[in-house]
């Protein structure tokens, strides 16, 4: 219980610090990057749920992100629905689609599953690109609206205009909520069942767990988070075409989880920031970016198979030990 409170207070402090960040950082581009990283947290937490907890590597995360993005955008642009409504509907819709997609594919394991989800992503991408009477094809949809402004406790949150502070707070809220949701799942009975599937699926089946049902649950929550990330992304950037929803992006989501530390809560958070900021710093060597990226992925898998978070953790323990902060 004490450990739980320590962890919880750690997260609360982190969120409060993050919420105060815009007051400290005055560079708009930096804020922009952090917003993208926060959206990536939502995406990566979803990926972690199916990849880290259940141990099924899905390569469809970007495709589901695309479904959420287009669903929310098309409803707001074509029917004038409020962004506040579609932003909640998008994850529901994506989750529903993923149940249909997951039902056949979750019956196969390991590589089979990875390849089938890869095929899903290809199908989604092709449809987004080709069905241009609905999606606008490669030219895309411009003028995707931002959420409308609202007042709370005498403070007006305005999402339009040049300042992105309100959107930053919105993205932070969503990142915190999705991390919280994953924490709830991880520490519940469901989370333990998901872990048992990763460790020994046959055994779980044998002791009476309906594994397909739980896998389907994890897969659809994972896709719903991707849908939410997609809606957040579309209404933030304001322009939508199929390009960010290809297989490459799904691979990046996997990379985020691996790099951070799969199966942990903090892993996707670290991974999301790494995946957003790394390309910025690799921009100097833009043509080598893909090679460097792949190289990092290979090295990380060989030498850091559990990701950065355990490394940070042990460093912290050593530091705390050296400073005498830890009681024996």
């Amino acid at each position: 219980m004490k450990k739980f409170l320590t962890h919880l207070s750690g997260w609360v402090v982190l969120i409060l610090v993050a919420a105060a960040m815009p007051a400290l950082i005055k560079v708009p581009y930096f804020i922009h990057l952090i917003i993208l990283a926060l959206i990536w947290i939502v995406l990566a937490q979803g990926q972690n749920l199916i990849q880290g907890l259940v141990g099924y590597v899905s390569i469809a995360q970007a495709g589901f992100m695309g479904i959420g993005a287009y669903f929310s955008t098309l409803l707001t642009v074509n029917f004038g629905w409020s962004v506040w409504m579609t932003m909640w509907l998008a994850p529901l819709f994506t989750g529903l689609i993923s149940v249909l997609a997951g039902y056949p594919s979750l019956r196969v394991k390991g590589h089979y599953f990875a390849i089938v989800t890869l095929a899903y992503n290809m199908v989604i991408f092709t449809v987004l690109l080709t069905y241009s009477s609905l999606t606008g094809g490669e030219a895309g949809i411009s003028n995707v609206p931002r959420p409308s402004e609202f007042s709370l406790l005498g403070y007006t949150f305005n999402f339009e205009g040049r300042s992105n502070i309100s959107y930053y707070l919105l993205a932070l809220l969503m990142a915190a909520l999705s991390t919280g949701l994953c924490a709830l799942i991880l520490h519940s009975r469901v989370g333990r069942i998901l872990l048992s599937i990763r460790q020994n699926e046959n055994l779980s089946d044998a002791i009476g767990v309906s594994t397909l049902r739980y896998k389907l649950l994890a897969f659809s929550v994972s896709a719903a988070l991707a849908g939410l990330a997609g809606a957040l992304y579309a209404h933030y950037i304001g322009f939508l075409n199929p390009e960010p929803f290809g297989v490459d992006q799904s691979l990046n989501a996997i990379l985020a989880v691996i790099l951070g530390g799969s199966g942990t809560l903090a892993g996707p958070v670290v991974g999301a920031f790494a995946i957003t900021f790394l390309p910025e710093y690799l921009r100097i060597a833009d043509s080598y970016r893909l090679v460097t990226y792949g190289f990092i992925l290979v090295l990380a898998t060989i030498f850091l198979p559990r990701g950065l978070v355990p490394v940070f953790h042990s460093l912290w323990l050593r530091l705390a030990g050296a400073l005498g902060l830890r009681r024996g």
């Binding site: 390849i115 089938v116 095929a119 893909l290 060989i302 198979p305």
Partner: protein, 285 residues
């Protein structure tokens, strides 16, 4: 009817390229349990290399392809030794993630070395045969023949040589093979060499038949896995049958439904097979 036959012949040509890709993937999977996703990118590397040998040194197509296959085998050996062997005892998922990283690296290297332009390998085989109204291009026929020859060579290698025997032994039971004195490290090197040179051949044929460009490799790897799923992971006859089925059904879909959605239809076929026969058409239960 003529139209159906015509699309069928076109499909057999592209299908035989899929067979070569899938054959390389299936031996790696059957023996090492690795989903070698970077295979498509290696194939594209081979396609570019064949193109370069042809353009720079004026080599005829098949000589350039043979040379590229040797280079491809070396690349395969390096990949096995440097990337996959360190994670051999880790969970299979690690090897798959390595494969994704390798894909990015090889795609990136292809882009740096050969540029982003689309490349078509020029061949002198331009004549066209007309068999009862069905038009068969000489190049397509040669592609099918090349695939047949390569498949035959692999089949002989696997069934008649000592190396082939040890490869099959490792595929059947790794521990027992080790106890019988089979050098597993050597077997996995051999397998990667063979697999990569088959992939390179497929890349060269694709380059002559259609075109090679950045991004084609990933598509090829995905098609290769679709074939594996159709035929059954690790099964060599499955790879042959699955490749031809995928090629023909794709050509039919392009001819009669919509060419924009031909990939979608190919994947739908795969998903349906997976639903009703998860072990593949020729796989073992």
């Amino acid at each position: 009817m003529i139209e159906i036959l015509q699309q069928g012949v076109n499909g057999l040509a592209i299908g035989s390229v899929y067979v070569l890709i899938a054959l390389g993937l299936t031996v790696v999977f059957g023996i090492l349990g690795i989903a070698h996703f970077a295979h498509g990118s290696v194939a594209m590397f081979g396609g570019y290399l064949t193109f370069t040998f042809g353009e720079r040194f004026g080599l005829p197509f098949f000589a350039a392809m043979a040379l590229a296959m040797v280079a491809g085998a070396v690349v395969g050996l390096l990949i096995e030794r440097l990337a996959y062997r360190p994670v051999r005892d880790a969970p299979h998922i690690n090897a798959f993630i390595i494969a994704l990283g390798l894909t990015m690296m090889i795609e990136g290297l292809n882009l740096l070395t050969f540029g982003a332009d689309q490349v078509v390998i020029q061949t002198p085989y331009r004549s066209v045969f007309n068999v009862g109204g069905v038009v068969i291009a000489e190049l397509r026929l040669l592609v099918i023949l090349t695939a047949c020859v390569l498949v035959g060579v692999i089949a002989l290698l696997m069934s008649r040589t000592k190396t082939g025997k040890s490869v099959r032994a490792v595929a059947q039971n790794r521990q027992a093979a080790v106890l019988m004195g089979v050098n597993v490290n050597q077997v996995s090197l051999v397998v990667f060499g063979i697999s990569s040179s088959l992939g390179v051949a497929a890349g060269a044929l694709i380059g002559a038949l259609l075109a090679i460009a950045p991004g084609v490799g990933e598509g090829l790897a995905i098609k290769g896995f679709a074939v594996l799923i159709l035929g059954g992971l690790g099964s060599i006859p499955g790879a042959i049958v699955g490749g031809l089925i995928l090629g023909v059904s794709e050509a039919m879909a392009a001819g009669f439904i919509s060419s924009a959605y031909k990939d979608v239809i190919a994947f739908l076929v795969m998903i349906v097979v997976l639903l009703f026969r998860p072990e593949g058409l020729l796989g073992k239960r």
